[in-house]
């Protein structure tokens, strides 16, 4: 038991420090359970889907063989692929940008703080909290060709002489589905926009007014620049959500008539769970994932920039 020199003490301290984990190492260790769950719940099915997309896997058969790019080529060369792409883009863009404009206008109305504003806000939010299957059935009834509310209304006003079969026509079916989706989704956007509108600096608005600016210049020079970040988030999240959307379209039209409302999500469901063609469905899913990845990349980049 000799005396320890300061040099020996420093050496021992270094060894102990080396044995102990750094903060980032400890953080990584803590993340392992979450990573394991991620790997089991998300990564494994994803990798399996990538694998299936190169096979002829079918739910009704136990035999699977490697088919290379056949599923992808079949999908892309199919007569329906262009329709599928157009339908998806039409549905995604209309149900993202139209409700955004409505939500923006409605938030500006609600932010005025008049009597009954909170009641209107609550009523509006009901459209969002209702189960999507119920919304689908509700709008299916509204658009019904024989007993539908809309036909009844248009007929009473003398705008139509004969009922319109909104859901049975290739041109109107997609519009009908979009209207239902817009009705359901704009309150969600409104909730975000309203929060942001409430935090617009009043002094800047006053300043524009003192400089003789009108409402349009307030909107252009104060409100929109202030709301740009939240608008960006809403648009990206909404685009991603619409790309994935399935329930409402399925309840209202099942992707028909004649494929006119079939989007990627409907097509994957039909291929996998009606035709039981898992390999084909996985290939469609991968094309869909690639399209979505662009949006996710833009969103993540923006998040990184903000950080």
């Amino acid at each position: 038991m000799g005396l320890q020199t300061p040099r020996m003490r420093d050496k021992q301290l270094n060894i102990r420090q080396k044995k102990e984990l750094t903060e980032s190492q400890f953080g990584s260790l803590l993340a392992i359970p979450a990573m394991l769950i991620f790997a089991i719940v998300i990564l494994y099915p994803f990798i399996k889907s990538v694998y299936y997309s190169f096979t002829n896997e079918k739910l009704l058969s136990n035999e699977t063989s490697w088919v290379g790019l056949e599923n992808y080529l079949n999908n892309i060369s199919s007569n329906n692929f262009i329709d599928l792409l157009i339908n998806t883009l039409v549905f995604v863009s209309i149900t993202t940008f139209v409700p955004l404009v409505i939500a923006f206008a409605w938030s500006i109305v609600l932010v005025q703080g008049f009597k009954g504003e909170s009641f209107l806000r609550t009523i509006t939010l009901y459209c969002w909290v209702l189960p999507i299957a119920s919304i689908g059935l509700l709008w299916k009834w509204i658009f019904d060709a024989n007993h539908g509310f809309l036909n009844e209304l248009l007929s009473k006003w003398g705008l139509i002489s004969e009922n319109i079969n909104f859901l049975g026509n290739t041109t109107t079916a997609m519009m009908a589905v979009c209207v239902a989706m817009i009705w359901h989704s704009f309150p969600w956007m409104m909730a975000f926009l309203l929060g942001s509108l409430n935090s617009v600096p009043q002094e800047q608005i006053e300043a524009v007014r003192m400089d003789g600016g009108n409402n349009m210049s307030i909107l252009r020079n104060v409100i929109l620049p202030h709301m740009k970040p939240i608008l960006f988030v809403i648009v990206i999240l909404s685009l991603i959500n619409r790309f994935q959307h399935f329930d409402l379209i399925w309840v209202m039209t099942e992707g028909g008539p004649a494929h006119s409302t079939t989007t990627f999500s409907i097509e994957v469901y039909k291929q996998a769970f009606q035709n039981f063609n898992v390999g084909q469905a996985a290939a469609t899913g991968m094309i869909w994932v690639l399209s979505l990845s662009i949006l996710i990349f833009v969103y993540m980049r923006r998040l990184k920039e903000d950080a």
Partner: protein
Amino acid sequence: MKKGFVSLFIGVLFTALVIAGCSTKDSDAKSNGKKELTFVSWSSQESTGKVIEDRMVKSWNEKNPNTAVKTIGYPWGETLQQLSIKAQSGENLDIAQIQSSWFNALAGQDVLVDLNSVLDPEWIKSNFSEAALKAGQLDGKQYALPWTIAAIAPLYNPEILKEAGIDVPPATVAEFEKALEKVKTKLPDVIPYSISTENASNVSQDFQAWLWTFGGNVFDENGKVTINNENGKKTLEWLKRLKDKKYIQMAVDRASSRDTFGLNKAAFYDDSIVARGFQVEKGTPLEKMPNHLVPMDRPVLNKGDTPRTVLWGHYLVVFKGSKDQQKSAEFIKHLLKDELSIEYFKSASVPPVTNSAKKDPVVSKDDYVNKYLQVAESATPLETEAFTQVNELDNIIAEEIQAALLDQKTPEKALNDAADRIAETVK
């Protein structure tokens, strides 16, 4: 830092214990010798099928507390999908009600029990007709027993026909078209013919029946696709004409047809024998049914032709993965008991299939049922049913018919595309 490790370890251990502690009912049941069998049946969830749960399953469970049956009801349109996924993923399935058109799709997966191995083959042979048993056989094995068999027949509303000035139901295609014209002219609010144009399975059923009427077929006797031959084109052109004249409508499925018919807003539609049960549920008393809903022969192209109809039926199967194949098969036998079959018939209008129950006066003196059974005598199974890809084939047929009806393709192009896609699917 050590403290952090200890907390992490305790956390992981706790989670593991919680997961391990979540033992299933199944394992609890095994420990006390009880097994719970599952019976997948969409009819049990329909208003006309309450007797399945209230009488059939209840009476079994009272007598068999150790192998009680639990009913699971998926919607009709999702049942095949659910059964296939569960069977392929190795999930324990016991008993299921299936539609006759799904039989090949399920039997082809090698997941069903040969019922001759768990029930007395003599009992099977002596209780059902040969034709009824044949539809549940594959490679000589009896994988399914019939629960109810009839046909999908055209139905008409006598009151509407009378209002439109039609004295007798049409017997030929030409008379049928004329009748539709009369309904459209005299009763503009009524849909003359509520044929299915939305749900793929129903579209395919209704189309194939008319295709046969026009002398066409989806496949010839050698398996070659012939849906696009001259007779096929004539069928689709005729349907297109009906649509253009507004005698038929788009976006119509079986359920909406039942609703429209229930409101006296449709003159004709096609349905299985369960149609009457739904009309009773929608408010028409049984005694008024002869004025509201009457089955008829499908109109023929030329006088003297045999009316063509789609064979329809519900079958019962036991899965190889069953917790108790013997008891599951006995449950099927229980469901087929005469007194229970008659009760089910009274509630849902589904005719019993055992030779003894068919003779019961409640069944044999029912005009509605007798007409359906007479129509069913010449009924044939859907051509698409012969393939495990029945759903995919029905989807193809429905999509191409919709495209033609909506002017996206000519009938010729739609049927040529259908033929190519069908050939590619079954190759």
